[in-house]
Symmetry: C2
Subunit: 355 residues, 2 copies
């Protein structure tokens, strides 16, 4: 992407996340080095933020601070955040996207609140009734996009069809693929298997006149195998799959750490292999893939992990930059506009939660 293209600032919720505002400001500084020319609208507590900018003249020159002392807490219920959060750093940052003062918002704050406020303020794209959370997952072939990761606990065939279109646009933008392979997560690869909505979504994708590269059904083990570039599923299964894989990775890391500490010889072995093992650690480093996008909203909103450090937050900013530079929403609208009889009804809310 050509960074010079992004003229409008990126809005940062400086107060969201466990390490805010420190990790946000330091992450923004890193992002500025990676994407020279970008600008920031920083929402948060000015007396806390300003001293941090003083020692960072380049970042200070690229940033404008919008002061607010109101913060949405990580434990606040989304319904409460929606009712009482209008002067919070998160809300104001989202609103700046709505008003065109920013091209995207990045926040490491409360996922449920971020989704609820984003839906309320930004609204969904025409033809989309449910936004989805999309993020990257490591695979044997590189990386894949998975969605939905928890914006909705239930999804019908039309939702899954739109998730496929949105995931396709995301994979083109962030992974730079020209024809991403799309798979529907199921309990078997045969046509007769699975839930009704998944089977119906497969028919929609097969019969679609859009230029989607639909692979068919995939199973859980296909995610890390890299069988497809875009894994489409409902938010319940997607959230469980993502977190189960994280748990399995943590289990194996613990086993390995214990193994290398189990004897002096093993310790020496571990020390000799340290460089190579660091590569493995890097490949599995979640921080590299930080930055989940809320796809389907009429505005770009990127969720950073709540525990993000500066490097991690910088990567979330990069996701926003890529999505802006690649006009993700124009791509999505182009495709969704071609669906005959697009469903535009707004369904009742089933969840307010995310990853």
């Amino acid at each position: 992407m050509a960074p010079g293209k992004i003229q409008t600032p990126i809005a940062l919720d400086a107060m969201g996340g466990d390490n805010a505002p420190d990790s946000v400001i330091r992450g923004a500084e890193m992002a500025l080095i990676r994407h020279p020319g970008i600008k920031f609208l920083i929402f948060g507590n000015e007396p806390q933020i300003l001293p941090m900018l003083k020692s960072r003249p380049a970042l200070k020159a690229a940033s404008e601070i919008v002061h607010t002392s109101h913060i949405i807490g990580s434990e606040d219920k989304p319904s409460i955040a929606v009712r009482r959060g209008r002067s919070s750093s998160m809300w104001l940052a989202i609103e700046s996207v709505k008003e065109g003062r920013a091209c995207a918002v990045v926040s490491a704050g409360n996922t449920g609140a971020l989704m609820a406020i984003s839906k309320l303020v930004l609204r969904t794209l025409p033809g989309v009734s449910r936004p989805a959370i999309a993020a990257l997952f490591p695979t044997l072939r590189g990386e894949c996009v998975m969605l939905d990761l928890g914006a909705n606990v239930e999804s019908d065939a039309q939702d899954l069809y739109r998730f496929a279109i949105m995931g396709d646009a995301f994979a083109r933008a962030v992974l730079g693929l020209s024809r991403p392979r799309i798979g529907l997560l199921n309990v078997g690869s045969e046509e007769l298997k699975g839930r009704t909505e998944v089977k119906e979504a497969a028919m929609l994708l097969k019969d679609s006149r859009l230029s989607l590269n639909f692979h068919g059904f995939i199973e859980g083990n296909d995610i890390a195998a890299g069988t497809v570039d875009v894994v489409v599923t409902d938010g319940f299964s997607g959230n469980i799959a993502l977190k189960t894989a994280e748990g399995a990775a943590r289990l194996i890391r613990t086993y390995l750490r214990d193994a290398f500490n189990s004897s002096p010889v093993a310790k020496v072995g571990g020390a000799l292999a340290m460089g190579a093992l660091k590569n493995v650690k890097d490949k599995l480093d979640d921080r590299k893939r930080n930055g989940a996008m809320f796809l389907g909203l009429a505005g770009i909103a990127v969720k950073s992990h709540g525990g993000a450090d500066a490097y991690s937050f910088c990567n979330a900013v990069s996701v926003a930059v890529e999505l802006v530079a690649h006009h993700i929403n124009t791509r999505i609208m182009d495709e969704i506009g071609h669906i005959p009889a697009a469903k535009t009804s707004i369904k009742p809310e089933t969840t307010e939660e995310g990853i």
Copy 2:
């Protein structure tokens, strides 16, 4: 368990699985050493099986062969297997449990066919409308039971409630726990989160007068963390979680193998740490945990992995032995009999497939 207690033979489908009958016969031989005194009813092609028994006098003495040349293929549709499989080794083995000639059946054959035929021949336990597939999963604290792993693509609150009861009995029998902690898999641990049926199941479990140790909701990462001993979920999410974790483990193994081959120094390191790494491999060895039970049937049916080798098949036989010795179905019936207004209606079939 006291092996001498099992007087009735265990039925083996000698023709099911990729390595049948070889792995079945060699696995049975291993199981006989592990559980002296057990007997086998071996269903399959006698001209193939008999020569293998000739060189194994102890196994020969403990076994009776029931000849059939009909085999259900690994690709056969369950509906076809049910209609045309009546003289197959799988069907006859299941039937022998129904008729009391065997106390349990173990098969490495086609999961969908095994479930469909087992349901038809054995029927479900009173008060259970949907059987579930249960198996063990490695955790930071040891092992947990997870169910359903794919017998049903959809489950309502009453189903999930019964899965909890059945999983509890399984954990007591196979893991030897006195009060297994039970968790409901969800997308968040707060009470308001998740699908309606999951929230309703939580209420049933909380209000239950049964002596269940209900922990509450858990998330995907809690599975491998060992937060609970019994993970209860629907067959769609359970199947996806299990296979996603397997895929993640395979990804990490590949990364590690590549890392240890990446340089001469790393190779030496790997060689020095080999003993310790073998321990990790052993802990993650799926073969150790082979043997998924079809819980909720009026008879014990254990599914071995299709690709099982002899050691793996032997472990599936061990699962059957434990379940028989611990009177798993009596335990389940005791608990389910205490549910007020037990639901006994048979629901329409939504899937015939398993793991």
